[in-house]
């Protein structure tokens, strides 16, 4: 009886702590979301702004029009989708070569791939911006897409999972006259679906969320991504329009939060692939 009470009190304590911490972590999202769902002076009437009353879509609607957000969302969606497909294809091909084929200098070529993982984008953007310029790719979709189409991380990941596929499977297929590409497409890739899912999810999120590279290659409305568009809703000197940015934030973050909820398992699997047991 007494131990039951102690256990109950402990459980209550643990839940209270969890709820309190969760409230702190969520507070920024909650406050901005509610502010976006209010209009006019209501948005700045703190702390009443934190109560879910007098909700309206006016602010989000104004932000949508003022920031041309529909177009920017489509730009982000298009660029992220093409990059994701491209990265999966290039990673599958190179991963296959490293896992199933034997060729001269294989170890050295693989080392070159791995070493590029150490080069951060922040270092290469100086020159890449000039390269894109010389190709005439500033303010184009090519400029946003092509430099991201290969991912060393993707090649590495695909190679890892392909190495688990028994070599006998490939040898048997070869005896039946199945070529490399067909084996890749019909056997190896389908066997690696979870890894490819994680890779695709990561690439999509990374491209959708990218900031530095897009900010250096595009500055027109026709190609700007949603991340860049948010900045233009920021009007620090005009308080009457200040709330527009919260509307934009909701529009930009919503698709990603939906993806997070739907694909939580794949996301965790992908993130932890490199961390646990290094």
């Amino acid at each position: 009886m007494a131990t039951d009470t102690v256990r109950g009190a402990r459980k209550f304590g643990r839940y209270s702590l969890l709820v309190a911490v969760a409230a702190i972590v969520l507070f920024p999202i909650y406050a901005v979301l509610l502010q976006a769902l209010k209009s006019g002076a209501d948005a700045f009437d703190h702390p009443r702004s934190l109560l879910p009353v007098d909700l309206t879509f006016d602010t989000i609607r104004s932000a949508w029009t003022a920031g041309n957000l529909g177009k920017l969302l489509m730009n982000s969606l298009f660029v992220s989708t093409v990059v994701t497909i491209g990265v999966i294809v290039t990673s599958l091909l190179a991963g296959y070569a490293f896992a199933f084929l034997n060729f001269p200098l294989k170890k050295i070529v693989f080392a070159i791939y791995l070493s590029t993982m150490l080069v951060p984008g922040e270092v290469t953007v100086v020159i890449n911006q000039r390269t894109a310029d010389s190709f005439g790719w500033l303010n184009t979709y090519q400029g946003l897409i092509v430099p991201s189409l290969a991912s060393t991380f993707g090649v590495f990941l695909v190679r890892q999972v392909f190495l688990q596929i028994p070599k006998e499977l490939r040898e048997a297929a070869a005896l039946d006259g199945v070529g490399h590409l067909r084996f890749l497409y019909e056997v190896a890739a389908p066997l690696s679906r979870p890894t490819l899912g994680a890779l695709g999810l990561f690439t999509f999120l990374g491209t959708w969320n990218a900031y530095l590279w897009p900010s250096q290659v595009v500055n027109d409305n026709a190609h700007r991504t949603i991340q860049l568009g948010l900045e233009r809703l920021k009007t620090p000197n005009d308080i009457s329009k200040f709330n527009l940015v919260t509307g934009g934030l909701v529009v930009a973050a919503l698709p990603i939060f939906i993806m997070l909820v739907v694909f939580q398992r794949q996301l965790v699997r992908g993130l932890t692939a490199g961390a646990v047991k290094g």
Partner: protein, 298 residues
């Protein structure tokens, strides 16, 4: 040997797409930046002359670079230890078999998908001095929230940027540490319990050693993120407040709109190469320093 040569044509075909892209967009710009780093060019970059490799040393020693280096290091120092401790705290809190724990885990991971632009602007809104909710609610305790606003004061701007970064990285840290915790074999806890270890001893003697691979990984990633901070600076402070350079990190020095070296490809390249070396050094030191203490299980 025959087999090797037979596989060569298909291997080449399969490697060409990614190898070509990496050559043009990763290897070439690195080599080119190293080269430009010792050159002085006019704005068109058509006329360049060699100014010698000691240019790197000159750039490194320049006041602009030293100031930016200090800001970047301070940002790393503010974000990495706090972010790590908070992440471990959240993970330990959520590592219990309780009803509904899945909801809390989702909440704690929720910031993993927020972009640097979204996270920065969220905090920009919260911290706005006239109409921001934090300024209104907490200025009794922290008067600077209202006047002049954390982002407008040169002593609080960088901590405010750090706050935004820590929050944005919390979901990632939580997920990695949580996965590390769940891979700790339960019987280790049981034997420690049987040996009479209290919950604190079990944490320091079982949990932490088993978590070292995850902690190392998170430390390296968070440090790299801090050293590469650009978007949060561009969106929150523009390297300022005003022209104080109090938040001008190395990437912002290179890419920022109002940066001093905006049009000088030579200095920009030299700074980028120095940034690369800095990131490499940090990662190497962290791997070595941790190396002996990392416990990878079996």
């Amino acid at each position: 040997m025959k087999r090797k040569l037979r596989d060569l044509p298909p291997a080449l075909l399969m490697l060409v797409p990614s190898l070509g892209l990496l050559a043009v967009w990763t290897i070439y710009p690195l080599v080119r930046a190293v080269d430009y780093g010792h050159k002085a060019c006019d704005i068109s970059v058509r006329n360049c002359r060699d100014v010698g490799w000691d240019r790197y040393w000159t750039v490194f020693q320049s006041k602009e670079f030293q100031d930016a280096l200090l800001v970047s290091l301070k940002l790393a120092l503010m974000t990495v230890p706090v972010g790590l401790v908070l992440g471990i705290g959240l993970a330990v809190l959520a590592d219990k078999q309780l009803k509904g724990i899945g909801i809390f885990r989702t909440v704690f991971s929720s910031t993993v998908a927020t972009s640097v632009a979204v996270a920065s602007l969220v905090w920009f809104v919260l911290l706005q001095p006239q109409v921001g909710v934090l300024a209104d609610l907490l200025s009794g305790w922290i008067p600077k929230l209202k006047n002049p606003g954390l982002l407008n004061d040169s002593s609080t701007a960088l901590p405010a940027v750090a706050l935004s970064s820590i929050w944005a990285s919390l979901g990632f840290t939580f997920i990695i540490i949580m996965a590390g915790l769940q891979s700790v074999p339960r019987d280790l806890y049981e034997s420690a319990f049987v040996d009479g270890a209290g919950s604190f001893r079990r944490f320091t003697n079982v949990t932490l050693p088993m978590l070292t691979p995850s902690i190392l990984f998170v430390t390296v990633v968070l440090t790299t993120r801090a050293l590469q901070a650009y978007g949060e600076i561009a969106l929150l402070t523009g390297g300022g407040p005003q022209d104080t350079k109090a938040t001008t990190t190395i990437p912002y020095l290179i890419y920022g709109n109002n940066s001093l070296v905006h049009n000088d490809i030579g200095i920009k390249s030299a700074s980028a190469v120095l940034l690369f070396l800095l990131c490499l050094t940090f990662a190497a030191v962290q791997f070595r320093g941790f190396g002996k203490r990392v416990h990878y299980g079996n």
